[in-house]
């Protein structure tokens, strides 16, 4: 079995797509992160859900966590306020999370070796510069345990 046959359904967003829509996608699909591509569809990074969560935290709570308990603001208003009109590229961490790449004809063991070495939960499967899809660590385990 090759990497191209292992790819799974996993949402991909563009660097310039809408930030609020990306947050909704994370929430609805209950995902730990989204794959982010450039305009040509080439994977650039991963947007972790934990990175988006910081937009729920007002700056004065980031400065003084003891204020979090007394806060009584609507989270829905806050996140719509903070993310509305923004792009996905503005949500990415300063040190972006790298998405390792494997080739379409790499074997299961090659994919597992990359994932194990880099301790990453996702790899991108590439055919040249085209993203065929991703393989997660749990998908690899599913295939191995089948």
């Amino acid at each position: 079995m090759h990497a191209a046959q292992m790819v799974e359904d996993y949402p991909v967003v563009d660097l310039d797509s809408d930030a609020l829509a990306a947050a909704r996608l994370l929430a609805e699909r209950r995902l730990p992160g989204l794959v982010v591509t450039d305009a040509s569809g080439c994977p650039q990074s991963v947007l972790p859900a934990s990175e988006v969560v910081q937009f729920l935290v007002p700056p004065y709570v980031q400065d003084d966590p003891s204020l979090a308990g007394v806060l009584n603001e609507s989270m829905a208003d806050r996140i719509a306020d903070k993310l509305g009109g923004r792009r996905v590229r503005e949500l990415l961490p300063k040190e972006p999370v790298e998405l390792p790449r494997v080739a379409a004809d790499d074997t299961v063991v090659e994919v597992a070796a990359v994932m194990a070495r880099l301790r990453c939960p996702l790899v991108a499967v590439m055919e040249g510069r085209t993203l065929l899809g991703v393989v997660s660590a749990s998908r690899l385990l599913e295939l191995a345990l089948h």
Copy 2:
């Protein structure tokens, strides 16, 4: 809303539970990791799926990745061989992944503040030394966007 009302269904395994069963749980539920507790049920760590994947990679491939492509071994045999009879504690990374804790009566903003500060995708919700459940980053976004 308090942390106790936000907890979600998330599988928890014991340090001394069966390693192969834990790998199956990761695969079947398609999870990026499992919460690991001690015998008293107190959360100790997280077992990332990417950590278990390394048991799919034979040692000679870990030493020389160029050998991965020529390998023709059954993954199912390998993982059953490697994990059979082992305990979850033997699969944990040498530098364990910490699972941050929040109190049952912490607010949504307090939980978000912990998650954002530590850039972690999961927190444990505790009532004293009892684990009530976990809250993931995507669950927080779901609540905020509701």
